[in-house]
C-alpha cells in the first residue's frame, strides 16, 4: 500500500501541502458572492421585509423556527447553508478518497452495497426452550438464514433458573438456558448447517462458545463448519445493560480467551462485536459513541495481542457494533468519520498498513431508544431513516428493532417488517446502488470533519485517563451518559426538542397495538427440566470437569496464562449448569460492584 502521511492537527495547518477541491480563484469568487448573498437577499429575508423577488408567499414570511439549529446529539451547530468555503480545507484524495482505500471514509469495500446480498435475520428469543423453538422454526420457514438468540437475564448473568434472584425473570427478556440440553431442544430440527447464529451473551461468552460448540457436536456437525457470531463484549455491560459479573479486567481476560480460541480453531466464527449502542442509547453523543468505541476496541485488541496473537490474525474478524440515531446526516457523518479516525489511529498504534486491520468493519443496530411507546407505528418512519443512514454511511450489516419494542417484546409481524426495511430501501429505492452517494456534499464532508475531530477529542480523553477500563471503573462513561440522558429528557419535557406523538401533535387516545405475551408457565417448566438434567447426568464427570475449570481460573488469578475455554467446553459437555460454572468462577474471581452514579 502506498505510504501516506497521517494527517495530524499540525500538518493540517500547512495549507501548502493540502490540496483543496477548489482552487484559490474559485474560492475567492465564491467568498465574495457569499458575502453579497448574506448582506443582500438573506438579510432582507431574515428581517421579514418582503421584496418583490420574494413574492412567492402571500402575507408575512415565517421566521426561522429556532435561533440555533443543532445536530441530533447536540454537539454541532448546523449552518444555514454549506458552500465550497466549508470544505476548502478538505483534500479530495487524502480526506475523502475512494472506497476501499485509506482512510476508508467512503467504506471498506470498493463496491459497497452493490455486492451485498442481505440475509433475513432476526434478534429474538423468549420463554422456555419449547417456546423459542416454535418461534425459530417459524422464522426459518419464512426464509430466515440468520438467527440471533436472546437469552434471559439469569442466563446472561450466569445464574440457574432456580436461583432465588432469578425468580420472575426466567424466560422474560429472552430464552432460558441452563444446560446444553436446553440449546439442543431450542435448535432441534433447524437447518443448523445453513444458519448463521449468534447471541449477545457477553460476560458468559466462554460458556456461550461452548454451548454452540457442543450443539454442533450433538448434531454431528463439525463446529469448524458452523457459522456462529459471538458478541463477547463485556464492556457494554458496565455501560448500559448491566449484566456484568466480574471486574472489567477479569471480564476482558475471559473475552480475550474467546477471541484467541475462535481465531485458532473456529475459522467461520465471529469472535467479538465491540458494541457502542448501549452507550449511545444511554445518553452519549454521536462523537462520544465513535471515540469511546475506538478506545474500547483498542483495549480489546491489545489484550489479545498480549497473548501473542498478531492484529492481522484476528482484527479482521472484529466488528464495531454501532447504532444509527434519527439525525440522518449526523449519523452518516459518524460512520464515515469513525472509519477515517480508526484507520489513522490503528495505523499508528499497530504500525501496519494492512487494510484488514485499519479498515473498520461496522455493524449497526438502529436506535431502539428513540422508539416511542406513543403511537408505535410512527416508529416505522424513524427506523426507516436510521436504516437509510446506515446504508448511506456504508456499514457492513444492519439490524433493526421492531416498532413495538418500547411496549413489550416484539411480535412475529413487527420483527418481520423491521427486517424487511433494509431490503425495501436497497431493492426498491436503489439507495445502495452507488458507493457513498453523499461523498463530496459540502454539508456532509464538513460534518464528517467536525465529527472526526470531536471523536478524537473523546478518544484522547479516555486514553489520558488510562484507557477503557479506567473509564469504566472511574465511572467516566456512566457520568457522561447520565448527563446526556438528563439533558435530552429536559429538552423533551420543555418542548425544545420535539418528539412527535410525545410532546408534539399528541393524540388524546392511545392507539391499540398487539403485544406479545410471554408464557407464564416457562419458569416452572424450565426448573423442572433443569432438575431432571441434574439427576440424570454423570455426577463424577461433572465434578471433575468443574474442578478443572476451577484450576484454570485459579491459575489465572495467580498470573499464569491459560485459556479457560477448553475447560468450560468440557464442563458443558458433561451437562454442568451455567450457574455451577459461573458460581465457581464467582468464588475465584469475586463479583463486581458497580458504583451507583447519578
Amino acid at each position: 500500500m502506498e505510504k501516506k502521511k497521517v494527517k495530524t492537527k499540525k500538518t493540517a495547518g500547512k495549507r501548502a501541502k493540502k490540496k483543496s477541491t477548489y482552487g484559490r480563484e474559485v474560492l475567492e469568487k465564491f467568498s465574495s458572492e457569499h458575502n453579497r448573498w448574506e448582506e443582500g437577499p438573506l438579510k432582507e429575508r431574515l428581517c421579514g421585509e418582503i421584496k418583490p423577488q420574494f413574492k412567492t408567499y402571500s402575507g408575512i414570511l415565517p421566521a426561522e423556527t429556532k435561533t440555533e439549529f443543532r445536530t441530533g446529539s447536540g454537539e454541532f451547530i448546523i449552518n444555514r447553508v454549506y458552500t465550497p468555503l466549508d470544505v476548502a480545507d478538505i483534500d479530495p484524495l487524502d480526506d475523502i478518497g475512494l472506497p476501499g482505500q485509506y482512510p476508508y471514509t467512503r467504506g471498506r469495500d470498493p463496491v459497497g452495497f452493490r455486492a451485498f446480498r442481505w440475509p433475513l435475520s432476526f434478534y429474538t428469543g423468549y420463554g422456555s426452550s419449547e417456546d423459542a423453538h416454535e418461534r425459530y422454526r417459524a422464522l426459518c420457514a419464512a426464509g430466515s438464514t440468520e438467527l440471533s438468540l436472546a437469552f434471559d437475564l439469569p442466563t446472561q448473568i450466569g445464574f440457574d433458573s432456580d436461583h432465588p434472584i432469578a425468580e420472575g425473570e426466567v424466560g422474560k427478556v429472552g430464552l432460558a438456558l441452563d444446560t446444553s440440553a436446553d440449546l439442543q431442544r431450542v435448535m432441534e430440527g433447524l437447518p443448523l448447517a445453513n444458519l448463521h447464529i449468534g447471541t449477545v451473551g457477553n460476560c458468559i461468552s466462554p460458556w456461550v462458545l461452548a454451548m454452540f460448540y457442543t450443539l454442533g457436536e450433538a448434531n454431528r456437525l463439525d463446529p469448524r463448519q458452523m457459522r456462529v457470531w459471538l458478541q463477547n463484549d463485556p464492556f457494554k455491560e458496565y455501560t448500559g445493560r448491566g449484566t456484568f459479573i466480574f471486574s472489567p479486567q477479569v471480564a476482558l481476560d475471559l473475552a480475550s480467551d474467546v477471541v484467541e480460541y475462535v481465531c485458532k480453531y473456529l475459522p467461520q466464527w465471529d469472535p467479538q462485536y465491540n458494541c457502542t449502542t448501549t452507550m449511545r442509547w444511554g445518553g452519549s453523543t454521536a462523537a462520544q459513541e465513535a471515540g469511546f468505541g475506538i478506545a474500547n476496541l483498542i483495549c480489546y485488541i491489545e489484550a489479545v495481542q498480549r497473548k501473542g496473537i498478531k492484529p492481522e490474525d484476528f482484527v479482521p474478524r472484529l466488528n464495531l457494533h454501532m447504532t444509527a440515531d434519527n439525525d440522518l446526516f449526523e449519523e452518516v457523518a459518524k460512520f464515515r468519520a469513525v472509519r477515517r479516525l480508526w484507520a489513522k489511529i490503528a495505523r499508528e498504534r499497530f504500525k501496519t498498513d494492512d487494510p484488514r486491520v485499519i479498515a473498520l468493519r461496522i455493524t449497526v443496530f438502529t436506535a431502539a431508544h428513540k422508539l416511542t411507546a406513543q403511537e408505535p407505528l410512527n416508529n416505522l418512519i424513524r427506523t426507516t431513516i436510521q436504516v437509510l443512514a446506515s446504508i448511506l454511511g456504508g456499514v457492513e450489516n444492519i439490524h433493526v428493532p421492531a416498532y413495538d419494542e418500547a411496549l413489550a417484546l416484539p411480535t412475529f409481524e413487527s420483527t418481520r417488517v423491521a427486517n424487511l426495511t433494509k431490503h425495501i430501501l436497497n431493492d426498491e429505492c436503489f439507495v445502495g446502488s452507488t458507493v457513498d452517494p453523499l461523498g463530496g456534499s459540502y454539508y456532509l464532508e464538513s460534518l464528517t470533519n467536525q465529527l472526526e475531530e470531536r471523536a478524537r477529542y473523546w478518544y484522547d480523553k479516555v486514553e489520558a485517563m488510562g484507557g477503557a477500563i479506567a473509564a469504566i471503573e472511574k465511572g467516566f462513561y456512566l457520568q457522561e451518559m447520565s448527563e446526556g440522558m438528563y439533558r435530552y429528557q429536559k429538552e423533551v419535557e420543555s418542548g425544545k426538542r420535539p418528539v412527535i406523538g410525545v410532546n408534539k401533535f399528541v393524540l388524546e387516545k392511545e392507539v391499540p397495538i398487539k403485544i406479545f405475551k410471554g408464557n407464564p408457565e416457562a419458569e416452572r417448566r424450565q426448573i423442572e427440566r433443569l432438575n431432571k438434567v441434574r439427576l440424570e447426568r454423570d455426577q463424577v464427570k461433572v465434578a471433575s470437569a468443574l474442578a478443572k475449570v476451577r484450576r484454570v481460573a485459579e491459575a489465572k488469578t495467580a498470573g499464569r496464562e491459560e485459556n479457560i475455554v477448553p475447560s468450560i467446553l468440557e464442563a458443558v459437555r458433561a451437562h454442568a449448569t451455567v450457574g455451577e460454572i459461573f458460581g465457581l468462577l464467582r468464588e475465584v474471581f469475586g463479583e463486581y460492584r458497580q458504583p451507583a452514579i447519578l
Partner: protein, 132 residues
Amino acid sequence: MRRRIRVLIAKPGLDGHEAGAKVIARAFMEAGMEVIYTGLRQTPEMIVQTALQEGVDIIGLSILSGAHNELCSRILRLLSQKGLGNVAVIVGGIVPREDIPILQEMGVKGVFGPGANTESVVEFVRALVPTE
C-alpha cells in the same frame, strides 16, 4: 419549614437498564427531595432493608425486564411485614397496560411508562407524601 421528601430509587432484579432510574432520580433531586439510589441488581430484601434504614417516604422501582408482577408483590409483602406499609411504592419502566391494574391491586400507587413526564411524576409524589 417543609420537611424534605425522602425517596429511594431502586433497581430490583437482574435488569440493568438504569437510564430511566437516573433521570427520575435527578428530577426528584432538582425538585428538592432527598434521593437514595441503590444501583443495580437489588433483591426485594435489600431494597426493603435500605428503605428501613434510610427512613424513606417513597420507593420508586424501575423495572424493564417484565418481572414487575413478581418483584412488586414480593417487595410490598416485605414492606408490610417490616411495618413499612405506609411507604408509598411507585413503578417506572415497561409495564403492559393490562398489568397496571394488577400492580395497583397489590398496592402500587402509580405506574409510569416510557415518555412519562418527570414534572408530573414529581407532582404525583408530592401529592402522595403529605409534608407540613
